[in-house]
């Protein structure tokens, strides 16, 4: 269904032969990457530490500039866009949360609407709506500070902050990292539902190939700054790239062993 709907529409995010290096060219963080994200799609980027995933995201909202190639958002070259306005219409969930410690939960969630000059009561209403959306109790959490929240609650606030100004595009950098598997799974499922309901275009970075296989419409595999493979989970699982095959071995083995270990009725 998704595929037919998006085939002909222009991509929401498009990278064309993008290069980015650091330290005067000694570190090639992103190397000749071309990648398109269609409207309504949830794309997962997987890859090892230092493979260039975060760098790729930061290029999209112009926190850094590409050395070569083009980055387009909704068909517009980001080079031509006002970076402040651009960032205000893209929601971002940062690696490790990065909530503002001096602002309450409501202050954190309402920050982009505030920057956009929304009226006070509209912001308050939006904050409550988002707390419901990420399934946090309004009264209990609204005026708490980040250090008074659990890790999972903080991640939810991070997601809510990214969604506050009703962006069409959401960039998420390991939003569910460092959580226990149950919470992680629940949060992932919750977000997948939100993504569908709000018709978002999402780029989600994860270390965890299993998470990517279960949540994403399409998967992009990064390795040493290069895009090794992209496609639907089924397409990627048929990849002939040795690194991708290696990546997929882990979930395969785990699935087999779990299948053998766990009783079929699930009454553990």
């Amino acid at each position: 269904m998704l595929a037919t709907m998006t085939r002909d529409a222009p991509p929401m995010i498009a990278y064309t032969a993008v290069d980015k290096s650091f330290d005067g060219g000694r570190i090639k963080a992103v190397d000749g990457v071309s990648l398109a994200v269609a409207r309504g799609e949830l794309l997962a980027i997987v890859g090892g530490s230092g493979s260039g995933k975060t760098t790729l995201l930061r290029l999209a909202n112009r926190l850094i500039e590409a050395d070569a190639g083009r980055v387009e958002i909704e068909g517009e070259d980001v080079q031509a866009a006002d970076p402040i306005a651009l960032r205000r219409r893209i929601g971002t969930v940062f690696q490790a949360g990065a909530l503002f410690p001096h602002l309450s939960v409501a202050g954190n969630i309402g920050i982009t609407p505030k920057l956009l000059g929304w009226p006070r009561d509209a912001i308050a209403a939006r904050v409550d709506e988002l707390l419901d959306l990420v399934r946090l109790d309004r009264a209990q959490h609204r005026s708490r500070f980040p250090h008074e929240l659990s890790g999972g609650q903080r991640q939810r606030v991070g997601v809510a902050r990214a969604l506050a100004a009703k962006p069409a595009i959401v960039l998420m950098d390991e939003p569910f990292g460092a959580l226990d598997p149950l919470t992680r799974d629940a949060l992932g499922e919750d977000f997948r539902a939100l993504h569908q309901r709000l018709q978002l275009t999402t780029v989600l970075i994860t270390h965890d190939i299993t998470e990517a296989l279960l949540l994403a419409d399409r998967i992009a595999v990064m390795h040493k700054g290069r895009l090794l493979e992209q496609g639907t989970p089924a397409e990627v699982s048929r990849s002939t790239e040795p690194y991708v095959a290696e990546l997929l071995q882990t979930p395969r083995r785990q699935a087999q062993r779990l299948g053998a270990l766990l009783p079929q009725d699930g009454a553990a």
């Binding site: 960032r87 940062f94 990065a98 410690p101 001096h102 920050i111 920057l115 902050r161």
Partner: protein, 516 residues
């Protein structure tokens, strides 16, 4: 006797509203100016390594200049600027008191504020800065909405340090004419009134402590994000400022300002002038503890209205006449010089206060020393002490030339300690003052000066240009000239140096010498 029954406490308390108010005013202005300069500079310099290094080392160097010297340096600087502005734009300003004090103290406050602001901003997590940019903040919004709030506790700690430094150092602004709690300390040191010194120190310390604690409350409030605490601290600070400023602002403005230099005799004479004005129904305040080089300029620009100076001092130091002259010549020259500045010489007080070489009577008799000429032969094995300026004054050069004097060692001392030092044998001879009461107290003798190397310095009463034609002022002070001889002044100085307040001494002195 209870410690607090001492009448000197009452005197000290009577001046408190005035001194404390002035102290708070100058500290507050300096701190505000310091912050207004340092905060933007710190923000500007943060990402500019060269500027940052230069600023921090500049502020660090300022910090190593002793407070008194820094304050003293600003006076001639501003004086020159004022003269420049007067000739260029036709408007001058007072280089006396408030302005130089505020500027010097503001400079003094810069280091902790600069350092803490830069460190505080540096310590903000880069991930948060990126998040701030990522949610769509402009560079300025990142600074004001994220970086500054997060660095605030560290910045506040710097402001606290600066506040304590400024309040403490403001006590040193007395010699450049800014009333402060230092008035207690300087007056107390000169008149050996330790109650006063203690009172001044305690008042300044308490003020610094109170401000520090209130700022700490605000800082904790900010750190713990407790608006109540921060508000309480702010309120307390506002209340403290209001309480210290209001009484001094509400106080009636005095019409006349009397000046006094930094030694006992000057305190007594200033008290006497003030009493004479009061008796004539004129209100006056005293700016005491003014530096010798500050006070004449202050009179010339009508920042003070009357004080007593010494003919030879002005003749040699202010008007730079070379060599020596007779007493009458000095006075004649001086009248001309003063007239050029518009300053009125109302008259000679009646005594002269000159430098004199002084030693214990017993020792002088035993060694057969009567005059400086006798001394010359023994000088190479002797130690001489003088005040901080003596050895660089023309009198000293003249003395050495006239008698061929060469001492083993020359030592500089606080004037009030010299006499005890020579009496105890710690030094052999001192350059004292002829009118000093301690000469009698320690049974010292003044050595004759047969070659008249040191001119006698008549005490003269001067009036500011602003009040040159002020008949009320002239009439009130008219009875003074010619009334106080050296004996009376010595006795008064002795009394003032042994614990009586200058006020009481001046009253007793007038009782003794007033026209009947």
């Amino acid at each position: 006797m209870s410690l607090f029954a001492d009448p000197r406490w009452r005197d000290a308390f009577a001046n408190l509203p005035d001194y404390l108010g002035a102290h708070v005013r100058v500290s507050l202005a300096a701190l505000a100016l310091g912050l207004a300069i340092s905060l933007p500079l710190a923000i500007l310099a943060r990402h500019r390594p060269v500027l940052r290094g230069a600023l921090l080392s500049f502020a660090g160097i300022v910090q190593t200049i002793p407070g008194l010297a820094l304050l003293a340096l600003f006076y001639p600087l501003l004086l020159a600027l004022a003269a420049l502005s007067l000739s260029a734009f036709g408007v001058g300003f007072s280089a006396f008191g408030f302005l130089p004090a505020v500027l010097a103290l503001a400079l003094y406050s810069m280091l902790p504020v600069l350092r803490n602001t830069i460190t505080g901003l540096d310590a903000v997590d880069p991930a948060l800065v990126e998040a701030a940019q990522g949610v769509g903040m402009t560079q300025r919004q990142v600074l004001t909405m994220v970086e500054l709030p997060l660095a605030l506790p560290v910045i506040m700690a710097g402001i606290r340090t600066a506040a304590v430094w400024v309040i403490g150092t403001a006590t040193l602004s007395t010699p450049i004419g800014q009333t402060s709690l230092g008035n207690y300390i300087f007056a107390g040191l000169q008149t050996q009134n330790w109650v006063l010194v203690l009172f001044g120190c305690a008042a300044a310390a308490l003020l610094a402590l109170a401000v520090d604690q209130l700022l700490a409350l605000i800082e904790r409030g900010l750190r713990l994000r407790s608006r109540v605490r921060a508000a309480l601290g702010g309120l307390g600070l506002a209340a403290l400022i209001a309480a210290t400023l209001l009484p001094s602002l509400a106080g009636a403005r005095s019409t006349y300002v009397i000046g006094a230099k930094t030694f006992t005799e000057q305190y007594v004479l200033a008290a006497l002038l003030e009493q004479r004005l009061a008796a004539a129904g004129l209100s006056a305040t005293t700016r005491a503890g003014l530096g010798s080089s500050v006070i004449y300029d202050a009179l010339k620009s009508s920042d003070i209205d009357a004080y007593v100076d010494y003919s030879g001092t002005l003749w040699a130091n202010q008007f730079k006449h070379p060599g020596l002259a007779t007493r009458d010549q000095v006075l004649a020259d001086l009248k001309q010089d003063l007239a050029k500045d518009g300053v009125t010489l109302l008259g000679e007080i009646g005594f002269a206060n000159a430098y004199a070489l002084v030693m214990p009577r017993a020792k002088a008799e035993a060694q057969g020393i009567r005059s400086i000429a006798d001394l010359a032969a023994r000088a190479p094995s002797m130690t001489i002490a003088g005040d901080y300026e003596f050895f660089s004054r023309p009198e000293w050069a003249n003395l050495r030339k006239a008698y061929g004097l060469a001492f083993k060692t020359e030592r500089q001392m606080q004037p009030d300690f010299m006499y005890a030092a020579v009496a105890s044998g710690e030094v052999d001879i001192i350059a004292g003052y002829t009118s000093d009461g301690l000469i009698a107290k320690y049974d010292l003798v003044v050595l004759d000066d047969p070659r008249q190397a040191i001119p006698p310095y008549d005490a003269v009463l001067l009036l500011s240009p602003k009040h040159a034609g002020d008949a009320k002022l002239r009439d009130a002070l008219k009875p003074l000239p010619g009334r106080i001889d050296i004996e009376a002044m010595r006795a008064a100085n002795l009394q003032a140096g042994s614990g009586s307040t200058p006020d009481a001494v001046a009253r007793a002195l007038w009782e003794k010498v007033k026209p009947r």
